[in-house]
Symmetry: C2
Subunit: 337 residues, 2 copies
């Protein structure tokens, strides 16, 4: 495996593009600043998902503006000239921060979480927005709001951002003239109105884990129904298509930051959909790049067309595994018994 | 109000159709057999949703085949010649049957419920299917499976039904030659693959309460996020349109049995969508019929077209209330302050 690791690291210097020259940005998902050296070592083109939750964990008092600012500034400087997408606080559901007093909910996955929490706790949100804006003066930052369910929430977020911007301007504090504003597409309703959202967002990032769970009404942490969590369910393919089509029609980039993005098995499908950016845990980057460099976008479009006519998740998965096994027998061939 | 009730009852004998002659069947939702006289008194064209849960409540041992058969037979005979749609056991989520030992789930709404439970507890399911089939010899029965998420589950249900049918045939027990098999459309994935489902189901019934909750990822029982439960969210309108379009393209009827079906405020929207049947609690029937008889299907199509371009739930609701208030000032005019 030492040899394999070495070979994979050799991909660091190579462009992340298909055989026919389509560039797909491969970026890192980062939970803790410690992971930055690994992300850099794997040749990531920046960070597609910087989770800000760690700042709020294991403490009684939430972090102040200066502390957050320094963390965001530091990561932007380390990653420059590549961009860093900072996601605002995404608590609730399975990401519980005990120090923030969340209600005892019957269905936390469908409760007060992510952007809903921020839009309720405006003071906390305002502090985070100010910190991100201030950091944006030090590198190519992007901001991303989690769990947006429709246009109204995106507008509410933009208003909060404007308020923070106006305040900083009045104080004479520096921030970038341009800060791209993106949203996670992870509720079915966001997928259904992706065309409307694409008119008001600067980019999309598809959160496949939650999107799949809500579309199928399945908590994958529940052993009795986890079998229904199917990334290749025909309904998921449809949702992904709607999202990507809307982004393309409106000319905004679409990224993916769920687990699907880092699994080379799905790469051709994602190419076929026209995804522009994949964000994943750092070790996945060379693995995905190795496959990416051996295929064409047309390969992806053709495979996707074949998969899209199939009626069940089992049919789709079977054909996908078969096709990927033919192309990359060393990666996806069925295990010998 | 005595006068109003009398006037409403006069609708009992009138056809449930639009001014331009489009028939929309108005049926009852029934939780307990006691409600049948009320359903008949309101002039319902049968029962669009007969919930079978009551049979399983407040007892240690689930009901046997004979007991279920007698209940289904009785209701079919009472409602004849109008049809009765019997929904198979829909436990879990907010409909907990303590006597059936359900797991302790972190998110019960996304857990082992409805058809998932039946497909796991095959013995219980088999007994219910036999009872429904036997009852079908005594009146126009339909069977409906709740929480179908895709084609694979529908096929699994049909297999179970075939098995029960074959067994009864071998035993020489009577059952109807034709038993229409419908599914509830209440998960986003079912809406997304409605065209595929319409090829294998005999009818749809849209369960708006759950569909809205899953599409928006909102538990409406949770006071912190209930404000996000918006029947007129643009994403919901899109989902409803996909479902109705698929049903129309494949020539199967589409019903609605969620709360939206019984609220006259939404009637024009549902007409515009082309819904064939509305099922509701009995007292709603004359109220909906009174509005139905004063509008045309084209009114609905025109209003729906205007609503569909609006980007937020608030915009849609405001225009809908305004338009319905203009047409029916005595029903929907804003309350005087
Ligand atoms: Mg998420
Ligand atoms: Mg339901």
């Amino acid at each position: 495996y030492d040899y394999l690791e070495k070979e994979l690291l050799s991909y660091r210097e190579l462009a992340s593009e298909t055989r026919d020259g389509h560039h797909v940005a491969l970026r890192g998902n980062v939970e803790l600043p410690d992971e930055i050296p690994l992300v850099l070592a794997q040749g990531a083109e920046g960070i597609g998902l910087f989770r800000s939750e760690f700042l709020f964990l294991n403490r009684r008092i939430p972090p102040g503006e200066q502390e957050q600012f320094e963390v965001y500034k530091d990561i932007l400087e380390k990653m420059a000239p590549n961009p860093v997408t900072i996601r605002t606080l995404d608590v609730g559901g399975d990401k519980f921060v005990p120090e923030i007093n969340l209600a005892d909910e019957a269905n936390p996955a469908m409760g007060l979480r992510a952007i809903r929490f921020s839009l309720k706790e405006r003071r906390l949100f305002h502090i985070q927005l100010r910190a991100i804006l201030r950091a944006s003066a030090f590198g190519p930052a992007r901001i991303m709001f989690p769990m947006i369910s429709g246009v109204a929430e995106l507008r509410a977020c933009r208003e909060c951002l404007e308020k923070a911007r106006a305040e900083l301007a009045a104080e004479g504090v520096a921030f970038a003239a341009e800060l791209p504003v993106g949203i996670m597409i992870e509720t079915p309703s966001a997928a259904l109105v992706a065309d409307m959202l694409a008119q008001e967002a600067d980019f999309f990032s598809i959160g496949t884990n939650d999107l799949i769970q809500y579309c199928l009404a399945v908590d994958r942490g529940n052993e009795h129904v986890a079998y229904l969590y199917e990334p290749m369910h025909p309904g998921i393919l449809r949702a992904l298509r709607m999202i990507c089509q809307a982004a393309r029609d409106k000319g905004i980039p679409v990224a993916m930051c769920g687990e699907m993005a880092g699994d080379p098995l799905y790469l051709l499908v994602l190419l076929g959909l026209g995804i522009d950016e994949l964000s994943m845990n750092a070790p996945g980057i060379p693995r995905v790049k190795r496959v990416l460099r051996q295929v064409t976008r047309e390969d992806g479009e053709q495979l996707l067309a074949r998969l899209s006519s199939l009626p069940t998740a089992q049919d789709v998965s079977r054909l996908l595994e078969e096709e990927m096994g033919k192309r990359f027998p060393e990666l996806f061939a069925p295990m010998p018994i």
